[in-house]
Amino acid sequence: MFPKPIHRSAAHWQVFYQGMLPLVMILWLLPLIAVAIFSIKPAVDFTNGNYWGWPSSFEAVENYGKVFFASDMPQYLLNSIYITIPTVIGAVALSCMTGFALGVYKFKGNLLIFFFFVAGNFVPFQILMVPVRTLTLDMGLYNTKTGLVLFHIAFQTGFCTLFMRNFIRALPFELVEAARVEGVAEWRIFWFVVLPLVRPAIAALSVLVFTFIWNDYFWAIVLTQGVENTPVTSGITSFNGQYRAAYHLMSAGSIVAALPPVMMFFAMQKHFIAGLTLGSVK
């Protein structure tokens, strides 16, 4: 193990290390901690210039209550959910199929198609912006959740295919061959042999895509506007416009907007990290 395990060091080093850990962590998260503190302060602290002093009262319930019951935030959150969940389902479903095709079959053009998915996944959004916006307008889907979902599914399919195909290729191929010898139809091999085996990949992709889509801002402002359909990332900017200089509310709003992927991460940490680090370990 590298570096040397701390419990093999002298006692004073161990104490030093244990002391450093929380210190460095607080330093690392300082900007976030600051916002968390802001979000429980009363408005009067800001008008009095008491930014960093002890809060004159604790108003967490009041501030967060306002965010949830007196602003458009719940609608934005709902929009985000309606955009994120179908995208996760769609992209994972499509990539299970593409991953299966590219991971199991040998045919001409296999690698070429795979590389198209991989390359497309890395292009800058701006090269897609004008045509995708025009297409969405032409289909009458501008400023709808469906329009946003369709694009997200398509784009995420690139990354998901990369992931799925590599995962399926690493599976023991003998299982597929054995099933073929038994005369099992190909689609049944997909459904009954391969799909049960890729469950960990499905879990990893689901949390990752959830986070990517929840946090998307660019396509949200390109394809939607207004309270009806816009997700929470672009909603928060109008929220902030509404509560200009009300830092306690803007802070609370930001924390609410950031929370769902954070909860997702803590709930499914193992899968999340497995997804992010794919390919970095062999």
């Binding site: 395990p5 199991v104 004008v130 660019f218 950031a258 970095s280």
Partner: protein
Amino acid sequence: MSATTQHIKAKPLWNKQKLMPWLFLMPGILFFAIYVIFPIFQSFNISFYKWSGLGEPKYIGLKNYVKLFGDRAFEISLWNNLKWLVLYLLAIPTGLAIALFLNQTVTGIRLYKSLFFFPFVISQVVVGLVFTWFYDPTFGLLNTILTSLGFAPLNVLGDPTLVTYGIILAGLWPQTAYCMILYLTGLNTVDPDQVEAARLDGAKGLRMLWYIILPQLRPATFIAFVVTVIGALRSFDLVSIMTNGGPFGSSRVLSFYMFEKALSEYGFRMGYGAAIAVVLFAIMMVFIVYFLRAMYKQESEPR
């Protein structure tokens, strides 16, 4: 070929190896082609036109590109992109340093690792807001700390010479967290026998890191490099949230400038925007090709 062999071959053709992959690929390819592949070519095409998004586009050849050369704002954006690209790479060594710091087995270390990873999970919009307030000249934590230490206060986001660095720093925060997690996972797979053997040979500290550990972390470094370069060239959210390109357009990057031009409040300029996007795409393509080549080499190895 005789009729009988043809008959035998014809049946599995429908059911098995030949057609099946295409059936499975169809929906994915369809979506991806319509929303990703075709639009790339369409953008190339649009960049030869003058188009407000309404009415007929007017063909103007290479005029949009010629205009880019004399465009001061484009030049600033390009330079800023270069700054992003170079400075963003700091996330890799910093991420490694934090990973080394956290690669221990004391109680509670798992929670610490998660908390260090935190910034990557929250959206860039929130990161942008958080850092905007952190830098705020009247109440920001940065200036509160600076003045209490006796330094002059800084208006990071209001100063054209500082602003881009300020935004990059905000971007480095989640990106470092990402690199850290890549290295933490990589460190798990480092061969303990090699480390022990090197230790017996008297290797330690930086020498051990350089000669024994880093070579084993190469896959992690590769991924870290790829995601960091792409992250740097994709930077949009932070610029949009923190400064909206200002002050005086000094913090624009190509992705932001393109958006600004194409969907400007003063009339859409889709053609010009597309030309900017093509330049950005060309820069990105260098790295995409490099990445694909590395992947191709890996694929050529027997599995």
